[in-house]
Symmetry: C2
Subunit: 420 residues, 2 copies
């Protein structure tokens, strides 16, 4: 596939940047701190194509189960609104949890004026406790009335879904189509997510919402979303734990293509749009890797020369999940040995004597044997906010990239200090 | 298989406890500190059956490659001596490293008076640096002359192989056979190992030596060793990294069965002996999980009700490798949610609503839903040196046990602090 120039980012890009959406956030009372935004809502002006990709953890939360039903078990369908609450994850809550999730969707559908099936829900926060429905009932109409299609609406949504994040994560890109049948049409893709680099004692969850004003059917939206998630959020690891609540949604309003036929999967227009969705998701995933109390830098692991995609992923994942690799980076140690050992036990097939490793652009291993490097230069390069590790396995054509962060004392403090 | 009473431990049990072996350790100069034992040698009185199980890491060290050759690529053969040096791992050293490993075997074979093929070698320490042969040449004869079949010889061996261990790890068991053809014959199995719970900046390696005065052929010894390793050392994880140098050896002198036929694989005598080898290996593996700077307790993870052995292992391993689970234990937090999420992403198949979890004997999850527990009692139980986690998946008959340790600030300090 030919290399594309990245699309331009829109200033103050957010989920309301594409036409046809309004959003907002408020303090409904799920969280105790007054003024802390804890309920977020995004609505499309009209019912639109929707897609969802969810956690594969067997312990999946009630809201995830409900969304799967609303998307007919296929990951795509129609939707009008997505509501997110933070503070309670509604996970490990059994039948009562399912009823609460359904009730929250019903309450929001009444406020929005749509069918209950057209509301998607997400929750993030403490697991094992029941979801309080009263804030939904008290606030849904007010929430709906206060939504805005301005950037501020998207910013409020992005803040309201945060739990352990230290910063909101949102962006949008725009491009002018060159595809036959829609030349000159300007398309926007926006996105926001939450999910910190460091996972707090209560399960931090990855929630993402992607919006576009392109017109496409559910299956095409799902295909674009899944492909983007596979090379972005699924290539992000901090401590390799998958939350019970991970959810990424995409809504396509079609508002930029009102008189044009929907974008067909596999067409040139589809590839243009997929590239935009991927660009937004990668941007958000990298921000998540950077965020988090305790992380001091983004770590990018590039594996090339793997026998196939699965093996590239095994090797990159083993390196990115290795506590030894990540503590070394925190300690400014260009430790190729730990990287090599992680690749060597990953299950990827290669020969020791074919392996090359570079750390921050400095060769440290060539043909499986260490090479001299300038340690002062390495220390200088460690000052950068991103550390790139390149590993060549010399065993085939496949490559992949994963993102993680380094592993510091703060990780232990956040996750393991004595209960008060 | 019927439950056996454990065999009796021998006081001051060591690798010289079984008849037919002598061992020792000395300061040869691989390590700089004067008096620090860094070269270990064990010899059988006569050439004997030998078996070896080695790291599966693709980045395997020169000594591992040499041992595989000496054991004919099958993991078993004949041997007379095992020599171990600490300080230099002789890994990532290419052809020069292979020649150095061969030379060390040759030097020792001349001192012992056996063929070079009958010497097995192991190294542990810094990777990427070349092995210094001079200490072998200078000390081999002296080392051979100073060996002892007393317990002290075994103790010195156990100390000389240590790198990051805070205590030597050795034990021996004895039993009186009830098997047809050797009733009343007393058999001993001894073992020692090194490999700390915490892995230091330089790759810590697991090295184990098992000795027995039972008589058995190479293939039978390999079968017994492999089975024991699979339920002991391979069920031990601290930060899931496999060293480039892991090696476990077994030597069978036959000295307790001089006029008896060798023990045949699959016989009742073989099962008696296998149980002893397993008991010794499990004892040593648990000690390794407990040791290590920073670990404050042994963590035992029992998974039952898995669909098959592989899935039991996946689930147990995901829990035992989870930084979130291990920081929680360090923080005295009976956090079932993290355990459940780890099992849920492990790849094991089960239903959320079938899962039961107990922490330190206290039920915390039943049928996938949390149960109340006495938090004060939990804090009391956290004072114990061992924390047991029991997870029932309700999906089949398979079970497994893994050992690990908790994850504290000291892990980060040891592995990631700034280079001096």
């Amino acid at each position: 596939m030919e290399l594309r120039e990245p699309y331009d980012y829109v200033d103050e890009g957010t989920i309301t940047t594409p036409a046809g959406f309004k959003a907002g956030g408020m303090h409904a009372g799920f969280r105790k701190e007054p003024g802390r935004l804890d309920m977020a809502l995004v609505e499309a002006d009209d019912v639109c194509s929707a897609a969802g990709v969810f956690t594969t953890n067997i312990f999946c939360a009630a809201p995830v189960t409900l969304c799967r039903e609303h998307l007919h078990g296929q990951g795509h369908g129609l939707a009008r609104a997505i509501v997110v609450n933070s503070g309670i994850a509604n996970a490990a809550t059994g039948e009562v949890g399912m009823r609460n999730a359904q009730r929250s969707a019903q309450v929001v559908s009444e406020a929005v004026g749509c069918s209950e099936q057209d509301v998607l829900v997400a929750s993030t926060g403490i697991i094992g406790q029941h979801l309080n429905i009263e804030p939904f009932e008290r606030c849904a109409s007010q929430m709906h009335a206060s939504l805005s299609s301005d950037p501020q609406g998207g910013h409020d949504f992005a803040r309201a879904i945060m739990t352990t994040d230290t910063v909101p994560k949102e962006c949008a890109v725009s491009y002018v189509s060159k595809a036959p049948g829609m030349e000159g049409c300007e398309i926007k893709v926006g996105g926001c997510c939450k999910g910190a680099g460091m996972i707090m004692p209560n399960m931090a969850t990855m929630i993402g919402v992607i919006t576009t004003d392109a017109a496409l059917e559910g299956p095409a939206a799902h295909a674009a979303l899944r492909a983007a998630v596979n090379v972005s959020f699924n290539k992000l690891t901090v401590d390799s734990d998958t939350s019970t609540n991970d959810s990424v949604f995409m809504l396509a309003s079609g508002a930029a293509m009102k008189d044009l036929p929907t974008i067909r999967q596999g067409s040139e227009a589809f590839f243009e749009l997929s590239a935009a969705v991927e660009q937004v998701c990668v941007n958000l995933a990298r921000r998540m890797a950077q965020d988090g109390e305790g992380a001091t830098r983004l770590v990018t692991v590039n594996v090339s020369g793997a026998a196939n995609d699965e093996q590239a992923d095994l090797a990159a994942r083993a390196i990115a999940n290795s506590p030894l690799v990540k503590t070394a980076i925190a300690g400014h140690d260009a430790n190729w040995g730990r990287i090599a050992a992680a690749a060597g036990r990953s299950g990827a097939t290669f020969k020791q004597e074919d392996v090359d490793i570079d750390i921050m652009g400095m060769p440290v291993l060539r043909g499986g044997l260490p090479v001299e490097f300038d340690e002062d230069e390495a220390l200088r390069r460690f000052e950068q906010p991103e550390v790139v590790i390149d590993v060549g396995l010399g065993a085939g054509p496949a490559s992949t990239t994963m993102w993680t962060c380094d592993f510091t004392h703060d990780y232990i403090s956040i996750n393991g200090d004595y209960r008060s």
